[in-house]
């Protein structure tokens, strides 16, 4: 195991990957109990990609995740209760129940919500970085896109703009083999998605997305290059989506052999055995972290379950900065108070 990470950061990285995994297990449980409102989108098997890329950012940097990047937002310091309340549509959620899952922003932590339309984040993050540069800040921005999402035009327009402007953007392409039921062969005819980088005149790199430390190093190099004015990087992480598109999808279209082959490459187990064999973190320490995470999750699940649903009147608020525009008696009209 070779890494540039000091022991404490290594422990944090481990904790965060574990938190990603265990929080998701809680979500599955809540989903089965009917407490998750809407779909649940898993990141099982992709934790190293999310967590280790986000780990490469510094304080003050920007991160715009997609809905499978649970690990990325946890790495940026979003507490599990924010995720739980989001998925459970509670008033205490960062979006107040107005939007679902990872669709929320916490500007203080540099975390910005995606919209469902894949690809649209790319030009928006480019714009954020442009603004920060204009304001003299040396912010680096990171965002994500799946092997499917790269087929969307906004990816192309956004990345091209970032390249021309040499903006400090790290665009992580999560190659997990599938876009819903669509395999890569039906998505793109290029050998690798990183091959697209040449057409934008930027570096394109491929890394084993299930190797947390390798992902970290590649992401860190891209972040450093970005910060020093070297412009965007297209960083393709090769990983695998171990579950269906969402919990309701039994992934019948997947060859079970493929799943078996990838199961042995589980990024968390792999990281654990590296920590074990290198002696960087003894089993007892890992157990301690595990217990801490579980008890944090106990508390956060309890918090989320005890949280109320939002007040219906919230539905009518917050469209404009000047609330009066839509308020003129709206709630009254729309809630039957005619």
């Amino acid at each position: 195991m070779t890494t540039s990470l000091p022991p404490q950061r290594l422990a944090d990285l481990y904790r965060c990957m574990l938190l990603n995994r265990l929080l998701e297990e809680r979500l599955v449980h809540l989903y089965r109990q009917g407490k998750v409102v809407g779909g649940l989108y898993r990141s099982l098997g992709q934790e190293a990609t999310s967590v280790a890329t986000a780990f490469a950012l510094d304080e003050g940097d920007l991160l715009a995740p997609l809905i499978r990047n649970l690990g990325s937002v946890l790495a940026r310091g979003i507490p599990p209760r924010d995720i739980l309340t989001q998925y459970m549509a509670r008033a205490t959620a960062p979006s107040g129940g107005k939007d679902a899952n990872l669709h929320f922003s916490v500007p203080e932590k540099g975390v910005y919500s995606p919209i469902a339309m894949l690809g649209t984040l790319v030009p928006v993050v480019a714009g954020m970085l442009l603004a920060d540069r204009m304001q003299g800040k040396r912010t680096v921005g990171m965002t994500y896109l799946g092997d499917g999402g790269t087929s969307v035009g906004a990816f192309h327009e956004g990345l091209n703009f970032a390249a021309v402007q040499r903006l400090p953007l790290v665009l992580v392409v999560e190659f997990n083999g599938w876009a819903y039921s669509t395999p890569y062969e039906k998505q793109c005819a290029a050998a690798t998605l990183a091959d697209k980088a040449l057409g934008y005149g930027i570096p394109g790199e491929v890394v084993d997305g299930n190797d947390a430390l390798a992902v970290y190093e590649a992401a860190r190099a891209a972040v450093n290059r970005a910060r020093l004015g070297g412009g965007p990087t297209l960083l393709e992480c090769k990983t695998y989506r171990m579950k269906g598109h969402a919990e309701h999808d039994a992934q019948a279209y997947v060859d079970p052999k493929e799943l078996t082959a990838w199961r042995v490459r589980d990024p968390l187990a792999r990281f654990e055995s590296a920590l074990e064999s290198s002696g960087a973190m003894p089993a007892a320490e890992r157990r301690r972290i595990h217990d801490e995470v579980e008890s944090q999750l106990d508390a956060d699940v309890a918090f989320a379950e005890a949280s109320p649903f939002p007040d219906p009147a919230l539905a009518f608020r917050g469209v404009y900065a000047d609330e009066s525009i839509l308020e003129r008696g709206r709630a009254g009209v729309f809630m039957g108070g005619l």
């Binding site: 409102v37 087929s151 969307v152 998505q187 939002p310 539905a315 729309f334």
Partner: protein
């Protein structure tokens, strides 16, 4: 938590006065049948979209089609609405009859330019027609949040050259989809996802179409006309039932086609009842209710015995959490309040 609208309307919605012969069929299955039968009937018809093949579509509207018609006629595309819609436009221009699926209709926003500037204007500008259908799940009520619940109809009703269809029953879903596929111009076909597995009615075994551009009186009445479409038809019918108990006789008009509007049917009904209320799930400002109110106030002014009212969603995105979404959507209670106000007028 229970969905308020299911609870309100029972597990399955069906037209009580439905006397059509045929087989009881869910709305979703009616759509699947229409696709299947049109592909059987006409080899120019093909389906393209994300996950429509092996997976059978996110909502299973294309289930079994690829098995029957093969990978070329049930084509899985990249995650690319411009490829789907642009591809369908091109194919239509060269003699095919493509049916493009949007996984959720919300994503049609990514093909807006191609639809409004290419498909809609091509016949007028160049004489080359674009006979294609873009279909997909529309509407709220299933806690899909702002991007899986939209009602985008007005973006297309506003665009000359398109047609827009929004069935509320299984019978219409099948008959209108067949009509749309056979139409020589581009049709936006809005399926209401709330109805997919809730609405069930009799669908004939033999081939039929429901003509584009014709509304249907779902319930005759004397005191006022409720003009509506899509999932809100069921809210209107439930309210009409309750109103009948109070001695108020509401006529319920189901538009079925949103562009071109069946002006004759709207005007005839309002001229009979003298009062008009429009109900839709889409937001208020610039909604279809505005166009209907304008048409009525221009062409049936003399017959009006009261203001034209609109019961709609407020001018906000569609919120996700159940109590918020419930507050957002019109419902029987808000509808009744407006109807009573209008009847008393």
């Amino acid at each position: 938590m229970a969905d308020p609208r299911v609870a309100r309307s029972g597990a399955t919605l069906t037209l009580t006065a439905d006397a059509t012969a045929g087989v009881e069929t869910f709305y979703l299955e009616a759509i699947r049948q229409a696709l299947f039968e049109e592909m059987e009937r006409d080899e120019r018809v093909f389906v393209l979209g994300q996950d429509v093949g092996v997976y059978g579509g996110a909502f299973k509207a294309t289930e079994g089609l690829q098995e029957r018609f093969g990978v070329d006629r049930v084509l899985d595309t990249p995650l690319s609405e411009e490829a789907i819609v642009g591809g369908a436009i091109g194919a239509a221009m060269r003699g095919m009859r493509p049916v493009a699926e949007m996984q959720f209709i919300d994503f049609i926003s990514r093909a807006f330019d191609l639809l409004t500037n290419f498909a809609a204007k091509n016949r007028y500008r160049t004489g080359v027609g674009v006979p294609m259908v873009v279909r997909g799940p529309s509407g709220a009520g299933v806690h899909g949040g702002p991007y899986h619940s939209q009602s985008p109809e007005m973006y297309f009703v506003k665009t000359p050259g398109l047609k827009v269809v929004a069935p509320a029953t299984a019978y219409d879903a099948k008959g209108l989809l067949k009509a749309a596929i056979r139409d020589d111009d581009p049709v936006i076909f809005l399926e209401h996802k709330f109805l997919y597995r809730r609405v069930k009615d009799r669908v004939p075994e033999e081939d039929y179409v429901v003509p584009i551009g014709k509304a249907a009186v779902r319930r005759a009445g004397r005191d006022l006309t409720i003009v509506t479409y899509g999932a809100m038809l069921w809210t209107a019918l439930e309210a009409a039932e309750l109103l009948a108990k109070d001695g108020v006789s509401a006529e319920v008009l189901d538009l079925r086609t949103l562009l071109p509007l069946d002006e004759e049917a709207i005007l005839a009904s309002v001229r009979r009842t003298g009062k008009c209320l429009i109900l839709h799930e889409d937001t208020r400002t610039g909604g279809l209710g505005a166009e209907i109110a304008a048409t009525v106030s221009e062409k049936a002014f003399e017959w009006l015995d009261g203001p034209i009212l609109r019961v709609t969603a407020p001018d906000t995105p569609v919120p996700y959490s159940p109590p918020l979404e419930e507050a957002f959507l019109p419902n029987v209670r808000t509808l009744l309040a407006a109807v009573r106000k209008l009847v008393r007028y």
